[in-house]
């Protein structure tokens, strides 16, 4: 589905990603872990197309297309979804209006008719049940006055509504208590199909108890330094990141 090759990216002249190689196939869940400052969120931002980051080298192929050539909105329309680490507030715009605008714009660009109000509301009903989103939040302004947990649930609700092919969850577990974590993870698991793929970015192993990854990658100083299965996450939990750093130091 997505193939990242030798990806280098920098912000304001400082190189953050230093040659990432990663391939994710349909139906797979990959986790990226790593200490603070290793470039996890940068990778998410670069894939989503935030323009503060400059890609200096490498390529990203998404379903046969050069992802890096696309504008952020075109990436979204092609099926890339980013669940934000810090979801943004938009005062005065209801959550539901926001989503309807997004969905219908995507449909329009794909040459589809807009979703009827009835079908849209039906979907809202189904998908909000999936993440146990409080009914009131649908009519509130986007993320305004939401608790941390509500914001993250809202991200997964949006993901459910938009039905992306490739989802990036950027530290979706940060700031969540264990119940919220379970609900969010449940939502992600229910949305998993053989045709979509997920990249879970996290600092802690505990999210991976709920969203079981097929592969775990360790990111350190802008490179993937180790890849394994879910046991790698457990090992990291137990030993911390230092042994990785030492390993990386030796091989670098």
């Amino acid at each position: 589905m997505i193939k990242i090759e030798n990806l280098h990216a920098s912000i304001e002249g400082t190189e953050i990603l230093r040659g990432i190689n990663l391939e994710i196939k349909a139906g797979e869940v990959h986790a990226i872990m790593g200490p603070n400052g290793s470039g996890k969120s940068t990778l998410a931002s670069v894939l989503a197309g935030r323009d503060e980051y400059e890609v200096t080298e490498g390529s990203v192929n998404f379903l046969g297309e050069d992802l890096l050539e696309l504008e952020p909105e075109d990436r979204a329309r092609a099926g890339v979804f980013l669940a934000f680490q810090y979801p943004v507030e938009i005062p005065g715009v209801s959550n539901i209006n926001f989503l309807k605008t997004a969905i219908n714009e995507i449909r329009e660009k794909r040459g589809q008719d807009p979703l009827s109000a009835k079908d849209f509301l039906q979907q809202v009903k189904e998908k909000s049940a999936l993440v146990e989103l409080d009914g009131k939040l649908k009519n509130r302004s986007v993320n305004e006055g939401f608790s941390g947990g509500e914001k993250k649930r809202n991200e997964i609700f949006q993901m459910a509504m938009l039905e992306p092919k490739f989802s990036i969850l950027d530290e979706t577990d940060s700031g969540l208590d264990i119940d919220a974590l379970r609900v969010v993870a449940d939502g992600v698991n229910k949305l998993k199909t053989k045709d979509n793929a997920t990249l879970v970015i996290t600092h802690y192993q505990r999210l991976l108890d709920y969203i079981v990854p097929d592969f775990v990658h360790v990111l350190y100083k802008g490179r993937i330094v180790k890849t394994g299965d879910k046991n790698l996450a457990l090992e990291l939990e137990e030993k911390g990141y230092d042994w990785i750093k030492d390993d990386a130091g030796v091989t670098a």
Partner: protein, 480 residues
């Protein structure tokens, strides 16, 4: 909810959509301003002697006045002797139905999306269409007449209801009130008049579309709305203008009178040509709007200002009667080189009077947007309250937002609250929207609509649709 979403789906095209010129023959006064011109206008309009005297008195006042320069705007001072003060479409004959209206005029309405025909059939809005100072066609008049409601052009009111005009004209905005009001009082050519009798609730929104159609014609509209005791009216005023190179001066006066227990809701959409990207051309809009509230009455001003090169406008309420209420809801958008100095005045004279001011300014590109407001609570206005909120939204790094609030409270039992915020439209917000599949224009429209929602909610639905479209058009291409 559904309708709000529909609005958002309607994304319209760029540039100044309403920039076209209609060729209707007109009959105009020579350039310049003197007592003879005023006599010419008055004679043309077959006015009674007292009205000519009123005009002349205003003119003599005006001659002694100086054009004010305290507003935070810069523009070349108009040469008042280089304007035509009268121009009227040539009248062919009295019109019985829309079929008889000049097809070119009907086409103009089509372009504006406000064909009278459609208005009549679909929306139930009576339209008094003003093209270049003279009313061409008034609809729904008969229906309103059954209720005793008078809704007609100002000149018709002068002929048909001189006693009402004489009684109320200049009672809220006196002929010597300010430079532009005095000018208007001297040379106004037409406008709208509305009278709602005692106890009558006007069953439809009354609407006037203004257009400025003739190059170099100053436009001096006069509006007088009187809501008699315990009556109610919702009045809509909207305007668009053709694209021009010359500056067009507009100095209107609107007077509202709400007698005991009456309510007037006055909504405006203003979309005059703002000038091109370099700031050339565009309308100068110097308007005096004021309402007088008697006991237990209420006046509510709602305005969406997207046009004009220079705007100078402070819709106000004089809360004379006890327990009266004044409200002002405003969205003022300035883009390119537009300048706006706008706000409201709430003058509390009666006891237990309440006022609310909600002002939302949006500045983009090189524009400057100022809020200027006065809340005055007099000694006798005990237990009065005011709440003011002025928010400014900046788009880009070259625009400006300024706030000049004046608060004068002369008694201790009253309460005044003032809140102000300034924010910049966030890159983060735009990116968030884009990541959900929206392009930049959609994202900005969505964010801006959220910001102004509180004000748009005050507008009647059809008007809110138009307002939203105007915001979209006005802000197109202003970020990025």
């Amino acid at each position: 909810m559904a309708s709000e979403e529909e609005l958002l789906e309607e994304i319209t095209s760029s540039e100044y959509k309403y920039g076209f010129v209609t060729n209707i023959e007109s009959d105009k006064a020579p350039k310049g301003l003197n007592e003879d011109i005023i006599r010419f206008i008055s004679a043309k309009k077959n006015e009674p002697e007292w009205l000519l005297e009123y005009r002349l008195k205003a003119f003599r006042n005006w001659e002694k006045m100086e054009e004010p320069d305290w507003a935070h705007v810069n523009y070349p001072k108009p040469d008042f002797q280089d304007l035509h003060y009268y121009s009227a479409p040539k009248k062919k004959k009295e019109l019985e139905s829309l079929d008889e209206v000049d097809p070119e005029l009907l086409e103009t309405f089509e372009k504006l999306g406000i064909s009278l025909d459609e208005q009549k059939r679909l929306t139930g809005v009576a339209v008094d269409a003003v093209i270049d100072s003279v009313s061409v066609k008034t609809t729904f008049k008969d229906k309103l007449a059954e209720l005793g409601i008078i809704f007609c052009s100002f000149s018709e009111a002068v002929q048909e209801h001189p006693e009402l005009v004489k009684k109320y004209l200049g009672t809220v905005v006196p002929p010597g009130d300010n430079f532009y009001a005095a000018l208007n009082s001297a040379v106004f050519t037409d406008g709208s008049f509305c009278y709602i009798p005692k106890g009558v609730r006007c069953p439809m929104e009354l609407s006037t579309y203004f257009r400025i159609n003739e190059a170099n014609t100053g436009q001096f509209e006069r509006t007088l709305v009187i809501a008699d005791e315990s009556s109610y009216v919702s009045y809509l005023e909207g305007c668009t203008a053709p694209m021009r190179d010359e500056n067009q001066l507009h100095a209107a006066v609107v007077e509202l009178v709400a007698l005991d227990n009456a309510e007037i809701k006055y909504s405006t959409i203003q979309n005059w040509y703002p000038g091109n990207k370099e700031g050339k051309g565009g309308i100068y809009n110097f308007v005096t709007k004021r309402g007088l509230c008697m006991e237990n009455s209420k006046i509510s001003w709602t305005q969406v200002e997207t046009g004009s090169a220079v705007t100078w406008k402070y819709p106000s309420c004089v809360l004379k009667g006890d327990n009266s209420v004044g409200e002002f809801y405003s969205v003022a958008v300035t883009s390119k080189h537009q300048q706006a100095d706008t706000g409201s005045k709430m003058i509390h004279l009666g006891k237990n009077t309440k006022s609310t001011i909600i002002s939302k300014g949006i500045s983009a590109m090189q524009a400057n947007n100022s809020y200027r407001g006065l809340v005055h609570i007099s000694k006798n206005a005990t237990n009065s309250r005011n709440f003011t909120q002025c928010d400014s939204l900046l788009m880009g790094n070259n625009c400006g937002a300024h706030t000049f609030p004046y608060i004068e409270v002369k008694n201790k039992s009253s309460q005044v609250e003032h809140e102000a915020t300034t924010s910049k439209i966030g890159e983060d917000q735009i990116f968030y929207c884009k990541q959900r599949g929206m392009d930049e224009e959609t994202a900005i429209n969505l964010i801006v609509n959220g910001y102004v929602k509180e004000v748009l909610n005050q507008l009647p639905m059809e008007f809110a649709v138009e307002a939203q479209k105007l915001l979209e058009i006005s802000l197109e291409g202003s970020v990025g």
